[in-house]
């Protein structure tokens, strides 16, 4: 029989201030929100968690959803199912599709938005969508009150673009004791949004695309590709080349773009399978936006 290690120490804060203070004092503690990432690999009935765990499920402030004319703001502990319940008219379509595909209802009820962003192990399903939508995230950390002359709140807060949350190696950049508390998604109208996740040999590929058309002119396009190795591949030069063009694209244009994309992907070191899939998905998207339909979302 396997020897049992000491049970973990559990902290259950109910306010942000308590949470930040506990995390400040225990920077190595595991943050428990939905638990899908923490527990899905565990074998047996005991999870053998070492050290301490901070259960943030009781922090109501992290479960808030706020909507204004300019943005949709989600607390980091908002379950995926709650975001889906907001509906396609409120949630960006690519995000809605990604969340729906995240698993069966029991997983979506547990998984949280913040958890999906902060987990290192997965391909970060929603990260490319948030990146293309220019979302911002709020990071907070405990801040001690030092000078009586300076007005300092109990916690230091900063908003950063989601793109600044990961480094070039795809690792989350967060300081010790820092916690992701809110995600702000700007309200923007995109004519077309696409999200595709394709399992391939070795690594899944996530393709995310946004396009905006104005009188058959492509006024903006954003394309991203994510694999386990490369969290985000984005070729802004290629995007810039497409902006301003009239749709539908000609067959010659599409072939040229395909060639450029494949050449770019070869430089990233991705497998030929991933390159071929990425290229096919991009062409599929460009063909879709070229279809003579009303300028509505697909």
């Amino acid at each position: 029989m396997a020897k049992l290690n000491r049970p973990p120490v559990i902290y259950s804060p109910t306010t942000i201030q308590d949470l930040l203070k506990i995390y400040h004092l225990n920077p190595d503690a595991l943050i428990y929100a939905g638990g899908t990432g923490l527990l899905s690999g565990a074998e047996g009935d005991i999870l053998h968690i070492r050290g301490s765990v901070i259960n943030i499920a009781g922090v109501e402030e992290l479960k808030k959803i706020n909507r204004t004319d300019r943005y949709l703001e989600l607390g980091a502990s908002v379950p995926v199912s709650k975001v889906i319940d907001l509906g396609k008219s409120i949630v960006p379509e690519a995000l809605y599709i990604a969340l729906k595909q995240m698993g069966p209802p029991q997983i979506r009820n547990m998984a949280t938005i913040g958890g999906n962003i902060c987990r290192q192990a997965n391909t970060m399903d929603i990260f490319p969508i948030l990146h293309l939508h220019d979302c911002q995230v709020e990071l907070r950390r405990f801040r001690e009150y030092r000078s009586p002359r300076r007005f300092l709140k109990g916690s230091g807060s900063k908003w950063i673009p989601v793109s600044r949350l990961i480094d070039n190696d795809g690792k989350i950049i967060m300081e010790s004791g820092e916690i992701l508390t809110r995600i702000r998604i700007p309200n923007e109208n995109w004519t077309f949004e696409s999200y595709r996740k394709i399992d391939g040999p070795g690594s899944p590929l996530i393709f995310t695309a946004l396009a905006r058309l104005d009188k058959h002119i492509l006024t903006d396009i954003r394309l991203s590709y994510s694999t386990v190795r490369e969290k985000l591949i984005r070729n802004r030069d290629l995007e810039a080349e497409m902006i301003g063009r009239r749709v539908p694209f000609s067959g010659r244009d599409l072939t040229l773009l395909e060639g450029k994309l494949e050449a770019y992907f070869k430089g990233t070191g991705e497998s030929s399978f991933t390159t071929a899939r990425a290229s096919a998905l991009t062409i599929q998207f460009l063909e879709k936006i070229s279809e003579p339909v009303d300028e509505g979302r697909v």
């Binding site: 049970p7 069966p104 029991q106 009820n109």
Partner: protein, 159 residues
């Protein structure tokens, strides 16, 4: 760690490790055998429970996360009128479930019908995906859930 929670309408205190899976606590410590042991990753759906009215896989919930929460398992749910609505609906549609998935299938159907009393096809397909057992055909299950929803809504209309 002493875990105090409400299980099937009764206040229960269990002395257990905080990192023990809730499915194991319910099965072994509280003898609720309607929770089946399955994949352990939350995907097969055999250990489904209602935790604060949310459908969750109890194998993904550590014991500490169940403190002061309300848990409904099939043992508790089988005492309700909703249970008989679902079972009647399933019987009428000729759904024959194996004993392994039946508790989870009934609980997941109840969860959906509480949320959407007249579910759409998409919502029905979605809830069927919560349990991966293939003992009953997809089309029978669909019909069963529709029948259950009729009984469910009829009873609600009658107060």
């Amino acid at each position: 760690m002493n875990i105090i929670c409400n299980v099937n309408g009764k206040e229960v205190a269990v002395e257990t490790r905080p990192d023990k899976k809730l499915s194991a606590v319910l099965r072994d410590d509280l003898n609720l055998k309607g929770i089946r042991k399955g994949c352990g990753t939350g995907r097969c759906g055999s250990c489904l429970i209602l935790l604060d009215d949310q459908l969750v896989a109890s194998c993904l919930v550590p014991a500490f996360a169940a403190r002061h929460k309300s848990i409904v398992t099939i043992e508790g749910f089988s005492q309700t009128k909703e249970f008989s609505d679902i079972v009647t609906g399933f019987k009428e549609a000729g759904v024959h479930l194996c004993s392994y998935c039946a508790p989870a299938r009934v609980l997941s159907t109840a969860y959906m019908l509480r949320k959407h009393i007249m579910p759409t096809e998409e919502q029905i397909n979605d809830i069927i995906s919560s349990v991966q057992c293939r003992c009953s055909s997809f089309s029978h299950l669909k019909k069963g859930i529709i029948q259950a929803s009729i009984h469910f809504s009829r009873r609600k209309d009658n107060g």
